[in-house]
Symmetry: C2
Subunit: 588 residues, 2 copies
């Protein structure tokens, strides 16, 4: 037996007990006659004390222990004279009578502290040391809690967790698949699932009624920061449901997770149509922790002789509260430069300050009278000391730009508190997106998404322009401007699914070849159904108020898709390729 | 809203209520003036009634509904005049006032009943229909329950569920890896994990203390019946533990699962050494639901002039109770033919019958006196009407043969009741197996298994023969003769791990190239640790008293590794291969 107790559980009430602990040497302090060691495990830190007078040999051995040595000690629990109120075990220490080194340690390449001196690359190479640090360990434990609560909640709501296969069929639609050569079936390949989409729909056809799975998904994308080739979803599907049933169910799940884990009451989630979200926030995932909603000024600002606005499709601004006096011209000029950066791409920015004394200052003061500018302020709800920031241009572009500016102002004014959570359902997305360049439609959600019931007739009978106006029965869950998940009511009718495939550019043969099993299933009593998938890594990060998902993943990959610790991917034995009936074809 | 209630919940107390139900048409009976429909969903079956006199039009429409049509009905709950006591909803029926067909269905290719007329291939092709059948649905729901209880129990025992990566590094040791070409890193490959072994060990080095995961694993093996290329493990690891801690913990988990789900008390699990298991049962996974333990007869049967026994390394038998009178000569001859089949491979079989009247009949009666045969019976504990079946030959071979015979006799005598569960820990396996053909050692468990503490010195200093005698700190959990899982205390010392790799034929370069990250981790304070992995598919099947795992997997693959429903694996677009810097190299 290596221990009677963990390093996190001894209290004053244990004083006098003989205990055995095992753990890592976190720190060691040598105070002449006494040596103190902080012994650490996952559960906490307990102070060990060695006394030169009582056992010189033992004390000498203790002094030689290095950081991160693994030791086992036996001793008696004693009340500390100088207590440490910051540590749950801070009232006691162990007077050690027996010490055994279980394993030595080299000096770690970075400090195992909350704040470490190790850079990203080094931490990833020695991830097993990085995870010893509290902030990383806490995130991994947090993730495990969120998973368990999710499972408990959904199981209690009659959902069945069903494991769907990892070795499936490659389909060119959507992102790129990772593929897996089959040895037994030479020249043939499995694909790793980008999501269990078709399987969960088949489970609905199979009568499972309510399905969920916390499941690994795979996308072979060119990696951006904070994208992982393998990621985890809370994947769900329900039969005999309307959108309302699904929103209620997963609003319930989200509320439960925040309540049970963070002790926070999220309240009822507001809903917003995609069109509204774009008009009011210039984003399909608005951060509604703060205001500064868009104010469209076409009717007031155009045709007054200011050519920039006259030529613009949309003149739109935000009202920044309480900053008219504080914001200097230099700051405003910096902000103009900021919006002109290529990442934002605005041509310029107009400001109107409503000063405390009632006067108005504006970068377009010579084109508009104070009365006209007051009307702008009136429409924007601007009060004394508020400031309008206005962009103009093509509608879609200017909305995106102003969205960026709004978020930036939210950051600068400290309005995006990571400990405040504002969930939102965005609904009524378009079904199809017209890709001007490729001259084809893309599914805005995915090819299995149903149009709204009221749009089905128009989908069968309408012309090309009609298709652009079809609404999907789709929805996204957004929290604090981050898309946590999305889903839709699915098509469950073969004819409608065929029509959708056709609109998306599939030939009947391609549709049959790739999704024949699903089309076939729709002919054997497919029930109405719909579902949702939540990004689990993202949800965990969001709940902890973090923006990066990386530390919520025990062994993440870097931006090149590499695991630098185990050195994967790596070349393989030529014999393996031969068995798989493959040859390398690497071009220089 | 598609339903106010499910098809499984209405009772007499609901009589008079107006309800809406949705589901599948299970059966329809047309009794002239009345039409009855059994409406089915996951939760049960509710009887619908349509009355020609009350609403002829509605009744006519109901008559046209085919099997597996999906319908929605509204009506009032009424007490049935002829109740069905075999159905929880059997006291009531719904007098339908409104009927809507939500989806039609073709005639299913097999009957959706507990006993179906569909063959395996057809059921797999239409798996979404097969899952509608109760026996399959129940198994999938059962699996989900076992998973949830496992997670609850382990989480309550301070285990953290950590997701380990699916895209890892290929290692030639063990079974064949599935590999995944990397597009971004041309010419390099990931492998799918055969188990998260090294990652869970790194999590122990990382201080996670107690890890578990219900996790998909992958092996590219030539498929035998009931092997799946992807399968699921309950994978666990603990730090600062001895074998005893691990056996206690997972005995506790197993007891909990049987208690909470099957309401069965398993009691304390007996333990048996590998050597004992082989000597007493000829198997490292003995079925201890019944006796017939091996009786070695060398001392009594050899050197008495019967050449077959004289030349044999081992003469060993089992005592079959109460069959001496019942077993005819024909049956015994059939049994001799049975053991001589190539799958068993015995040269013959000797029998000794101790008849009810005290007389003895034996196939070797002319070589041995009744007194001698009585001594055999005495050693075997044979009473009146018992029968000895004896094999002889090389020790290892004859034990395997007699194991098969013992299991066969257990089957024939109905001693292997699938509803009786007898767990067993098999311990003290050999560390290394000498492969005479390849002239090399194999790891009996895996290369990370520690020798028993008392054998470590001998491992560093011993000669070749010593290595064969090393015992591993390894253990298997066996229930009813099925290996449910296995594990070991791991090596946590770099030198010992290097020694083991060397014994297994790794050059230092190969060891470093494949497992350098683990060897490195052992130098930074690796704690003593060990773990276990339970076959989850197998455990679920065992608990349900089934021998096949296939129906516990929602979408299994066939013996060629194919999913015949989605048609995977399949050829891919040549463009995909090109992007992956690969070429097909299929030889005719």
């Amino acid at each position: 037996m290596y221990r009677t107790n963990t390093c996190g559980e001894l209290r004053l009430g244990n004083a006098g007990m003989e205990v055995t602990l095992s753990g890592w040497v976190q720190a060691s302090r040598d105070l002449g006659g006494m040596t103190f060691i902080d012994l650490r495990d996952r559960y906490g830190i307990t102070q060990l004390v060695f006394n030169m007078e009582e056992d010189a040999d033992l004390c000498m051995r203790a002094r030689k222990l290095g950081r991160e040595f693994v030791i086992q000690v036996t001793g008696s629990v004693r009340e500390r004279t100088s207590k440490n109120p910051n540590r749950p075990t801070g009232d006691v220490e162990i007077v050690v009578s027996n010490l055994q080194t279980l394993n030595a340690s080299n000096v770690p390449p970075f400090t195992i502290e909350n704040e470490t001196d190790g850079g990203e690359e080094l931490r990833m190479k020695y991830r097993y040391l990085d995870i010893r640090r509290n902030p990383v360990q806490e995130k991994i434990i947090f993730r495990s809690k969120v998973a368990l609560e999710t499972r408990k909640y959904l199981s209690a709501s009659n959902f069945i967790e069903v494991e769907t296969p990892c070795l499936i069929k490659s389909t060119p639609e959507g992102a790129r698949d990772f593929i897996v050569p089959s040895r037994i079936n030479a020249g043939q390949f499995y694909a790793l699932p980008q999501s269990p989409q078709t399987f969960k729909q088949l489970l609905m056809v199979a009568g499972m009624d309510r399905y969920f799975q916390i499941v690994k998904c795979f996308r072979d994308e060119d990696l951006r920061a904070d994208r992982q080739p393998e990621f985890t979803q809370i994947d769900c599907e329900m039969a005999f449901v309307t959108r309302e049933d699904i929103l209620q169910t997963f609003e319930g799940l989200t509320q439960h997770l925040f309540k049970s884990i963070l002790h926070l009451d999220l309240g009822t989630f507001p809903r917003m149509s995609y069109d509204d979200a774009m008009q009011r926030y210039g984003s399909d995932k608005p951060d509604i922790r703060f205001g500064m909603e868009f104010v469209e000024l076409n009717d007031l600002a155009k045709d007054k002789g200011f050519a920039v606005f006259d030529d613009a499709e949309l003149v739109v601004g935000i009202c920044v509260p309480d900053q008219a006096e504080a914001y200097s011209n230099k700051q405003l000029n910096d902000l103009v430069e900021w919006v002109k950066r290529p990442q934002i791409g605005a041509k310029g920015m107009v400001n109107v300050k409503f000063l405390a004394d009632g006067s108005i200052k504006s970068s377009v003061g010579k084109f508009y009278t104070d009365e006209q500018l007051k009307e702008w302020g009136h429409k924007a709800g601007a009060g004394a000391n508020d400031m309008l920031l206005i962009l103009s241009g093509e509608t879609d572009k200017v909305r995106k730009q102003l969205n960026e500016l709004r978020l930036e102002m939210g950051n600068r004014l400290g309005l995006r508190d990571p400990k405040v959570y504002k969930p939102l359902w965005v609904v009524d997305f378009a079904l199809l997106e017209w890709d001007e360049e490729a001259q084809r439609f893309h599914a805005m959600h995915h090819p299995f998404t149903s149009p709204k019931a009221t749009d089905i007739e128009r989908m069968f009978s309408g012309d090309h322009e009609t298709m652009k106006s079809l609404r999907a029965d789709a929805y996204d869950l957004v929290i604090n401007g981050v898309e946590i998940g999305g889903g839709s009511i699915r098509i469950h009718d073969r004819k409608l699914q065929e029509k959708n495939f056709k609109l998306l550019g599939f030939t009947p043969e391609e549709a049959e070849n790739q999704f024949g099993f699903l089309l076939g299933a729709f002919e054997y009593g497919a029930p109405p159904h719909g579902g949702i998938a939540l990004g689990f890594d993202r949800l965990c990060a969001m709940m902890k108020g973090e923006t990066s998902i990386r530390d919520f993943i025990a062994f993440p990959k870097n931006n090149m898709g590499k695991d630098v610790m185990i050195d994967a991917p790596s070349p393989i034995d030529p014999e393996q390729l031969k068995e798989l009936s493959l040859k390398l074809d690497v071009r220089p």
